[in-house]
Symmetry: C2
Subunit: 297 residues, 2 copies
């Protein structure tokens, strides 16, 4: 019985609502549904009484709840036992990442780290993701989350955490908003580049990808502003300032994603590979190694 299944079970037992739980757990409803089916299968009993409208625990489900809680506690106790005794990793480690990454990528890392090394204090710095490798190389950060460039600087270790498409976005053309500008969004060839500015990142991988893309498609665009940080770019696009390319991950997490549309039928940009980075020669340091290992799995 997988730990993640127990967590899912307990969450669902709390909410009694698949859609809500699946959101809290960052899973699709279908996945959660089948996770529960798998649990019931392995337990050999129906744990939730449910139809399409109501969800509740069965008698067997209550037994399972006790089991799940105690098993999860035992697991967490083990983590503490294994990781406080031997190494006693303590001190501070800094981690630099974008606001988005801090939401979507870090929760499992951080929770595992707190369990394994309660004495280790993680100093989280957020900012423009494009800066991250520079900050790492400059020694300003111990670890960073960055998009992997075509060729990684020598001496930098990279551990993949997530992939994300890089997508073009514009403001959603709502009834109210139509006045702003009318762009054919079917293809970049028909797009009115003269009238619609391109919002370009100040630096970083996204900037380079977009520039290469413009060259390849022989498009000359007005560059409206050079902004730092994908989150800020998303905000500007939402306000109707122009078109831009950002990682889908940032878009998904954005509070203004409803007023944005992504131009999926445009020719694709390369994917972003987002991961944890640190300097190779510091990977032996216990604190950094602890962060590194917590990120794996």
């Amino acid at each position: 019985m997988e730990i993640s299944l127990l967590r899912a079970y307990l969450d669902l037992a709390g909410t009694c609502h698949f859609a809500r739980s699946s959101e809290r757990l960052h899973l699709s409803p279908s996945t959660l549904s089948r996770m529960i089916q798998r649990i019931e299968q392995q337990a050999g009993a129906r744990l939730f009484e449910r139809n399409n409208r109501q969800v509740s625990l069965t008698r067997a489900g209550e037994s399972f709840h006790r089991y799940a809680v105690s098993t999860l506690q035992a697991w967490e106790a083990l983590q503490v036992e294994l990781h406080t005794r031997g190494s006693r990793v303590q001190g501070e480690v800094s981690l630099y990442c974008s606001v988005t990454a801090s939401h979507r990528l870090l929760d499992s890392l951080v929770s595992r780290l707190r369990l394994r090394h309660p004495e280790l204090e993680l100093k989280l710095h957020t900012g423009d993701q494009a800066q991250s490798l520079q900050r790492l190389l400059a020694g300003e950060e111990d670890t960073v989350i960055a998009a992997r460039p075509q060729d990684l600087p020598a001496g930098v270790e990279f551990q993949l955490l997530a992939r994300s498409r890089l997508v073009f976005i514009t403001a959603r053309q709502s009834a109210q908003n139509t006045a702003g500008y009318h762009a054919s969004v079917a293809s970049p060839a028909y797009f009115d580049w003269a009238r619609t500015p391109l919002i370009l990142a100040e630096s970083g991988l996204a900037r380079r990808h977009v520039q290469a893309w413009l060259r390849q498609h022989k498009i000359r665009a007005d560059i409206y502003a050079q902004v730092s940080g994908h989150e800020a770019i998303v905000s500007m696009v939402a306000l109707g300032c122009g078109v831009a390319a950002v990682p889908e991950l940032v878009l998904d997490a954005s509070p203004v994603r409803d007023s944005i549309q992504s131009l999926d039928n445009w020719p694709a940009l390369p994917d972003f590979e987002i991961g944890l980075c640190t300097l190779s020669n510091r990977l032996r340091e216990p604190m950094i190694e602890a962060v590194w290992n917590a990120a794996r799995d």
Copy 2:
């Protein structure tokens, strides 16, 4: 943390020997090795100190051992709790299968059944696997393990437990044994069918497959004997009585497999699909349903 991983861990902790444990667990050494790596990964600590010659528990491994034992106990207690309270399934169910199936396919089924329904008494009958569906239809057995025929009789439920190739076998041509008969085993076309008898099952799917195969390849073979039960056929082949086709599963489990060689380069026969069968209209009976569900997963 998967139950099966805990079981593997505990077994290895007992033997301190990958090869031996992997055999006991019916796994390949490489699989076991990677299972342990996965456990260590998830635990975030090295649990076995090992080189290519010696295996021993680390300090962390001992902690994990305590955790594994208690977690496994909690799991089994849950099984008992879930399955004794509600249904109280008691009585006798008969299960007919071959000797081979009883070794290789039944252990997980039986152990789960004893855990879930200690009051249920399984009456195990072994015999020729080819008889099983007849016995089921005749009402002589409640459940059987059988190879799935091209078309399943109406009213019979089938649940796949394992796939197995159907392979031709002859006696291994050892130095001592060469005198017996010299057959080119490279291909059935060059095989000396006139001098080497074919041992054919008295009935059942294997018999039909082989007969079709002979027709297709236009081979007329002497039929030396018609034997019932694949295990008996294997014994006869091992004694040098001729050539035959049996499911690989039977071969693997045979005590005389060392004096047998399989003719893998011969044109293939259809695979065997081996599974649990019962009558559809009896699937609601609690005892039969219990067996059925215990077989799943």
